[in-house]
């Protein structure tokens, strides 16, 4: 990697000050994507602002929602009693990310801010009607993800926490890429009193997306059989060495069926 400055402030306001003092600075969360990128010399920021000291790693029950700090590690979410009680599907998702090392470094906020099309968390954010709290505002999940590796976050905006709505039922099932074990298709299904939300990750050219037809079918009948007659379009799905759009379309339906239990 290229040499770069490293600063570890104690609050988000200090972090903002620090990043403004740099030309092209980068916030560093768990570093699961950023550090490998730097090591391969694919990025050369003027400095890194490590926000792990900014007290952003609490988990709290807020009644209708579970609020998780942006710097909470995957392992902490997976082990959290609050999360396991209120949204076990979210704990299951966190427990299936990467390997033990990744789960003990990688963070919720880092994953969501990066919006990797193969990441697991964005599907939970979208399906669980989450609200992304930043240092300046609160953003609805449906407005947050704007494209592959792109979000509504503006320059120098830090995710502080994410509130996930408690569903009546939810599940996450992924089909891992055989090589990387990222989600080749991951489906988060969440049932609420006002309907079912189905979010698909790993498959869309534009990143995570909601699947309207499956949501409609499951909202009227929360049963895998309700999906049988559906034809899943392969349009807009990723094509790579491991899966064609057609195969991904098949997996979307299959993983959704397996998620509805």
């Amino acid at each position: 990697m290229y040499s770069t400055k490293y600063i570890k402030p104690n609050s988000t306001s200090e972090a903002l000050e620090a990043i403004k003092s740099m030309g092209e600075g980068k916030f560093l969360a768990g570093g699961m994507t950023l550090i490998p990128t730097l090591k391969q010399r694919l990025a050369s920021p003027d400095g890194l602002v490590d926000i792990s000291g900014c007290d952003l790693d609490s988990i709290s029950d807020e009644g209708d929602t579970i609020k998780i700090g942006a710097m909470t590690k995957h392992a902490s979410v997976a082990e959290s009693g609050l999360v396991n009680k209120a949204i076990p599907a979210l704990a299951k998702l966190a427990d299936g990310i990467g390997d033990r090392q990744v789960r003990n470094r990688g963070t919720l906020g880092g994953s969501v801010a990066n919006n990797d099309p193969s990441a697991c968390y964005p599907s939970a954010v979208l399906a669980l009607k989450a609200i992304v709290h930043t240092n300046t505002r609160s953003i609805q999940a449906d407005e947050f993800f704007t494209g592959m590796f792109e979000t509504a976050l503006e320059e120098n905006e830090i995710i502080e926490a994410i509130s996930f709505s408690k569903p009546t039922k939810a599940n996450y099932v992924k089909f891992p890429n055989p090589a990387s074990r990222y989600a080749m298709v991951g489906v988060f299904v969440a049932q609420f009193n006002d309907g079912v939300r189905v979010a698909v990750t790993g498959a869309g050219e534009g990143g995570v997306f909601r699947h309207a037809e499956m949501e409609a079918a499951l909202s009227s009948n929360y049963n895998a059989d309700a999906l049988s007659a559906l034809e899943i379009s392969s349009e807009g799905l990723i094509s790579d060495l491991h899966a064609s759009p057609e195969y991904r379309a098949n997996l979307i339906k299959e993983m959704t069926k397996r998620a509805v239990v």
Partner: protein, 794 residues
């Protein structure tokens, strides 16, 4: 002593003595070693597959921070340093020899694959070297890359010396007899298979540390090698034209090789050269990306097979036409792998009266292809065992029975095949029977039916393989085009207190030689194993040796050790006879004691050792003092391990995922020295075979860019991809080495891919699927199911 022999000797599953350091992270690999004043080398590599170099501007790099030197191909050429050589060539059908284009250490005028080294930057730190390399400006005139090796003859010519991009066009066997058999056959089974290209992925990436001593004008090279003496020979004699005595090569702990660390690579040679040029020790260590791009890959064949059967389903002829990809330059053993180590194995375990094969080795703009665990034998076994299973299905026979009627009968050994090899011994039905029993073959259809109720397709497939390893008598190797000997060396030094230092020409990079070799010595001398130390991997310490590859370490290296120990025993008997005042002929050696036959007069081995080094009462007039013997063992034939592997799979039609649910491996490795280590080798081999069959695939795009250049896209087998293996053995001891041993390192990787693909096809056979290429990925299997269903619907 009896008890010690029982615990530590041949046949005991002694825990590996070398593992303590590895399991506690204390292994000492090349990159762990640092020298005062050391600098780092970084290679600027071509990012295009095929191009002329119009110019290279290194000026900015030369003056970048920390830079000690920047060199290109012209600097190497000025010093007249040669490139790596090809260690084995074969004759072509037209009477010409293998075309051997030069392989410059740094590109001269042209780059031929993505990763080809264009320049080297030497700097105080690796980061400085990398930063400086970014300042080098290379102006390329891009040429059309040749990637599709089957049609490489129609592509742009890669080397002036290699017309039609064909390095060689080789044949073996009787073409007219084979064609006649095919013409007269009751049935001809035809199959075209592809052996997918693999990246070796040793856990430790390649590394080199070269140091030049200007006072005695000598070099020391630490490097990741499977055979340090060959590395020294090639570097000294063929590349640098210096006396071998002026180059010491040390291969310390080496973290896996699988073939990829047999050869001399350009990087270690450049480090040696630069260490003198700069006058400081030069280190280079590959990162994982460089390993993907520049380690020799494996396999990459296409084979067209015709198997001729008579009315009784007996095989009467086999023809195999092969095209293989050898990449941008000829690597050391790249020619022998698809020819001598492939064509000669085509008879498998079967009595085939006529065989012919033709192999074309093609140049492409991809990295070199060379030996990878099994090296030629997996490719031969794959095409043959896929064809055997296909033929059985086509003639409506159980695949086991079809194999059985075609096996070489056990009373036919030694058996002369139609493809040069003579099998000394074997007995194939017992391992077939035992493997079938281990996997409960007779009840398979019940399991298939039960799986079907769960919506799963269950299948079973087998593979009865043979391999030739060791390798061979040196004279035979020479006659077949090999430029090296195939003996192995050992030096056994008895220390004055009776402990033993064994110096072996074999090289351990994970195989457990320190344990296995010590067991042989302990067993033969009747002494505790912990009294035996095994030293390897340093040309200044060990006798000239050929190293480890081709499952040769025990059969050849172990035999050399055994021979040296026999010499020790013979000399010890003379000493004992003197001490016991008896005739040498009356001395028996048993359980570590020299006894005068029929008396209670005896001397322990330790007493003899002491007498040899403190020769106060010693027959100095007729016997030299000391107790140390060398042996060079040249095998009289290949050794021929064989076996049957049976795989059972379940396929989820909704996703195409193949789960390996059961595996039975029954192998005949001759006598086993350490069954636990053997079992580990079998497990590892099968894991690699399952990787090839289901997961791994090195994929270049049409521009010659390696798309699978990281673990994000190249799929290695993981523990949860594998079942628990059932491992069993039969034993027909090798007839021509004292230990009766064969070889076990490659067997698993040779046997497993066809068994697994046969099982996948069997599982899908109710759908009418008759073929499946490797790797059988979920997407590919799912697609085959979809296509079969759409055919059924029509």
């Amino acid at each position: 002593m009896n008890e010690v022999t029982k615990i530590d000797g041949i046949g005991s599953s002694v825990r590996r003595t070398e593992d303590k350091k590895f399991l506690t992270g204390k292994g000492r690999y090349t990159d762990d070693i640092n020298k005062p004043g050391q600098v780092q080398a970084y290679f600027l590599r071509s990012d295009v597959a095929h191009a002329e170099i119009k110019s290279i501007d290194t000026k900015a790099a030369q003056s970048a921070p920390g830079v000690v030197g920047v060199f290109t191909g012209s600097d190497i050429a000025a010093d007249k340093i040669g490139g790596p050589i090809c260690g084995w060539v074969v004759p072509c059908r037209d009477g010409s020899s293998t075309k051997e284009p030069p392989h410059p250490l740094l590109a001269q005028g042209k780059v031929r694959f993505v990763g080809d080294a264009v320049a080297v930057v030497v700097a105080e730190t690796m980061e400085q070297a990398k930063s400086a390399a970014e300042l080098i400006d290379v102006d390329y005139n891009e040429l059309t890359p040749v990637v599709d090796f089957v049609n490489a003859d129609k592509g742009a010519q890669i080397h002036e010396e290699v017309p039609n991009n064909c390095y060689f066009d080789w044949e073996l066997g009787d073409e007219s007899a084979t064609n006649k058999a095919i013409e007269s056959a009751a049935k001809v089974v035809k199959l075209s298979v592809r052996n997918n290209r693999l990246v070796p992925n040793a856990m430790e990436p390649r590394s080199a540390l070269a140091e030049y001593d200007s006072l005695d004008e000598s070099y020391t090279l630490h490097t990741t090698s499977q055979n340090p003496h060959l590395t020294r020979l090639v570097l000294a004699a063929f590349m640098f034209a210096i006396p071998e005595s002026k180059l010491r090569v040390i291969a310390p702990d080496v973290g896996g090789g699988f073939g990829s660390k047999i050869y001399v690579y350009i990087e270690e040679a450049v480090c040696v050269w630069a260490s003198k040029k700069i006058g400081r020790p030069v280190k280079w260590t590959a990162d994982r990306t460089q390993a993907f791009l520049t380690d020799c890959h494996g396999r990459d064949h296409v084979n067209d097979v015709q198997l001729a059967l008579d009315d009784n389903n007996k095989i009467i002829g086999l023809r195999v036409d092969t095209v293989c990809n050898l990449g941008a330059y000829l690597s050391a053993f790249s020619v022998v792998v698809p020819t001598i180590l492939h064509g000669t194995l085509l008879s498998g375990q079967y009595d085939i009266p006529a065989i012919y094969t033709n192999v074309k080795g093609m140049a492409t703009n991809t990295v070199n292809v060379d030996a990878y665990r099994g090296a030629g034998r997996p490719e031969a076994t794959y095409l043959l065992e896929r064809t055997m299973e296909t033929a059985a299905k086509e003639v409506g026979m159980d695949p086991a029975e079809f194999r059985r009627i075609n096996f070489i009968p056990k009373d036919a050994f030694p058996y002369q095949t139609q493809v040069a090899l003579q099998y000394d011994i074997g007995d194939y039905e017992p391992h077939l029977d035992k493997a079938m029993e281990m996997i409960d073959y007779s009840n398979f259809e019940k399991r298939r039916a039960e799986a079907a109720k769960r919506g799963m397709y269950r299948g079973i497939g087998m593979s009865s393989y043979i391999e030739a390893c060791g390798l061979a008598p040196s004279a035979v190797v020479g006659a077949l085009g090999g430029r090296v000997g195939q003996w192995e060396s050992a030096s056994v030094r008895v220390n004055p207190t009776g402990t033993i230092s064994v110096f072996t020409g074999s090289h351990s990079h994970g195989q457990g030689h320190a344990t296995t070799f010590a067991q042989i010595v302990a067993d033969k001398l009747g002494i505790p194993m912990e009294n035996v130390e095994v030293i390897h991997g340093d040309t200044d310490k060990t006798p000239f040796g050929m190293g480890s590859y081709g499952s040769r370490s025990l059969a050849s290296g172990g035999s050399a050790i055994s021979k040296a120990v026999d010499k020790i025993i013979n000399k010890s008997k003379k000493i004992a006879a003197h001490l016991l005042e008896a005739s040498e002929d009356d001395i028996d050696f048993k359980d570590g004691k020299f006894v005068v036959g029929g008396t209670d007069k005896e001397k322990a081995f330790g007493e003899i050792a002491l007498a040899a080094y403190v020769p106060h009462n010693y027959p100095l007039e007729t016997l030299e003092p000391g107790l140390e013997e060398n042996a060079f063992y040249d095998p009289t034939n290949f050794v021929f391990p064989s076996g049957t592997h049976i795989a059972e799979v379940e396929i989820d039609p909704a996703t195409g995922v193949v789960e390996v649910v059961d595996w039975a491996a029954c192998d005949d490795f001759g006598n086993l020295v350490n069954p636990m280590i053997v079992e580990g080798q079998v497990h590892g081999g099968i894991a690699q075979g399952i990787g090839q069959a289901l997961l791994e695939d090195a994929h270049y795009d049409e521009n010659g860019q390696l798309l699978t250049a990281s673990y994000m896209d190249y799929c290695m087998p993981r523990a949860d991809d594998l079942p628990s293996f059932k491992v069993g053995y039969t034993n027909t001891p090798c007839t021509h080495n004292d230990l009766g041993v064969k070889g076990c390192g490659e067997a698993g990787a040779i046997a497993s891919p066809p068994a697994l693909i046969n099982a996948v096809i069997d599982a899908l056979s109710p759908l009418g699927v008759t073929d499946m290429s490797m790797p059988a990925t979920p997407q590919k299997v799912w697609k085959a199911i979809q296509e079969s269903q759409s055919v059924a619907a029509e």
